[in-house]
């Protein structure tokens, strides 16, 4: 029996090509998954940092503790996400590297969560507008085909439902409170409304992960979000803003001026003392 060298070479080439194709597909899938995880985690990281800023600065001891507890919950969730992202990246980047050593343009949180703690009404309005979305998002993420993401979601959902109760309660209390508290809460809702639509925008990674049955189709959450938020605002004797002009950009890494200052504080330790651990 003679061996046709050419034939062997062709079949080897074809195999190499097939392997290369598969590995590109795996890399693409991993890259999308990596970016998808970051998209979820960055929201919680940045909001967690904002709430953490209130440590020692809350209006009363009880609310101070509540805000920092919410921050702690969010950071805990972030750790689970970044530990997973680090595994997916598989290039030695640790959870700390991912959390602390990216540049501003590489953070893909929504603009809403980076808005400053202007006053307590503003802080609670921001929390409420995010919590309602966050809770609905996690309910869907529990059904993800990715078992790690679904486990993190079922863990987080219990914590986030307490956040949502807390922030909803404050929106109602301040909205349906004194003339001054009502004015402040209304101003906060009006100012932050412009950042709500972005919650329902899809990135490329989002679309790819939805197609895989891993990601949540956020466009489907939009109607019930606005319905729920509007009902609560009415209950709080607040006006539902009518503005149709919405800001976006956070999910593409284009941020408001506030994020840079936050990152300076967030990253200070890690950049000054490299390789510190959480």
């Amino acid at each position: 029996m003679s061996i046709d060298r050419d034939e062997i070479e062709i079949s080897l080439k074809a195999r190499c090509e097939a392997i290369r194709k598969v590995s590109i597909e795996v890399n693409m899938k991993n890259e999308n998954l990596y970016n998808y995880i970051l998209g979820i985690a960055d929201n919680s990281l940045i909001l967690g940092q904002r709430m953490g800023e209130l440590c020692g600065h809350g209006p009363t001891l009880e609310t101070d503790i509540a805000c920092t507890n919410i921050s702690l919950d969010l950071f805990g969730q972030v750790r689970s996400y970044f530990q997973y992202a680090s595994k997916i990246a598989g290039d030695g980047r640790t959870e700390d590297d991912i959390a602390m050593l990216r540049k501003e343009r590489e953070y893909i949180n929504v603009l809403l969560v980076e808005q400053p703690n202007t006053d307590f009404a503003y802080t609670m309005a921001r929390q409420f507008l995010f919590d309602v979305y966050h809770l609905a998002f996690l309910v869907e993420l529990q059904k993800s085909a990715d078992l790690t993401l679904s486990a993190i979601a079922s863990k987080s959902i219990k914590e986030v439902s307490y956040h949502e109760r807390f922030s909803s309660d404050w929106v109602k209390r301040l909205g349906d409170g004194t003339e001054e508290s009502n004015t402040k809460m209304q101003e906060a809702i009006d100012a932050l409304w412009t950042y709500t639509d972005e919650l329902f925008h899809q990135t490329e990674a989002d679309k790819a992960m939805v197609a895989e049955g891993i990601g949540v189709d956020v466009t489907k959450l939009k109607d019930s979000y606005y319905r729920h938020v509007s009902e609560l605002l009415e209950e709080a004797t607040l006006q539902v803003p009518e503005s149709k002009y919405f800001q976006k950009g956070g999910k593409e890494g284009i941020h408001t001026e506030h994020l840079g200052y936050m990152l300076a504080e967030l990253q200070y330790m890690q950049r000054t003392y490299p390789n510190m651990e959480w």
């Binding site: 009880e62 503790i65 507890n69 702690l72 805990g76 486990a151 307490y162 807390f166 309660d169």
Partner: protein, 166 residues
Amino acid sequence: MTTTEQDIDKKLIPILEGVSDPEIPVLSIMDMGVVRSAVIKDNTVKVQITPTYSGCPAMDVIGDDIKAALKEAEYNSEIELILHPAWTTDWITPRGRKALEEYGIAAPLDAEADKDVLLNGKRIVKCTNCGSQNTRLVSQFGSTACKAQFQCEDCQEPFDYFKCLK
């Protein structure tokens, strides 16, 4: 789910019962329901633990404490943190609930009652000092992420309530 579904080697139970929650020292991690499995393989114990809350800073300490306790009993050990199935307050044992109450922390009610208490201001959480149900929610968040703050309107005692997680 009940605690009987945990796969824990009988020999290890007394050792693990000796490890307590660093934030609630009267409560062993076994009564807390944090240990999901513990099996011996070639003199190495593989322990799976699950966090009560995601950000619970006690988890790292609990892992270290388990290792130390097993080391003393001459076992090597590996600790794995698992998230699924998620911990629920139902996994706290009856003995654990009793220990909580005696320590001054009101044990978690069921999910519906918990909602009534935290959202609608219903007065059903029993004061850990005098047993009165005339208690008021001070804050939904307490000294740690897992607790809420209450005050008794009869004896004025401030106390923590362990929030229901389900």
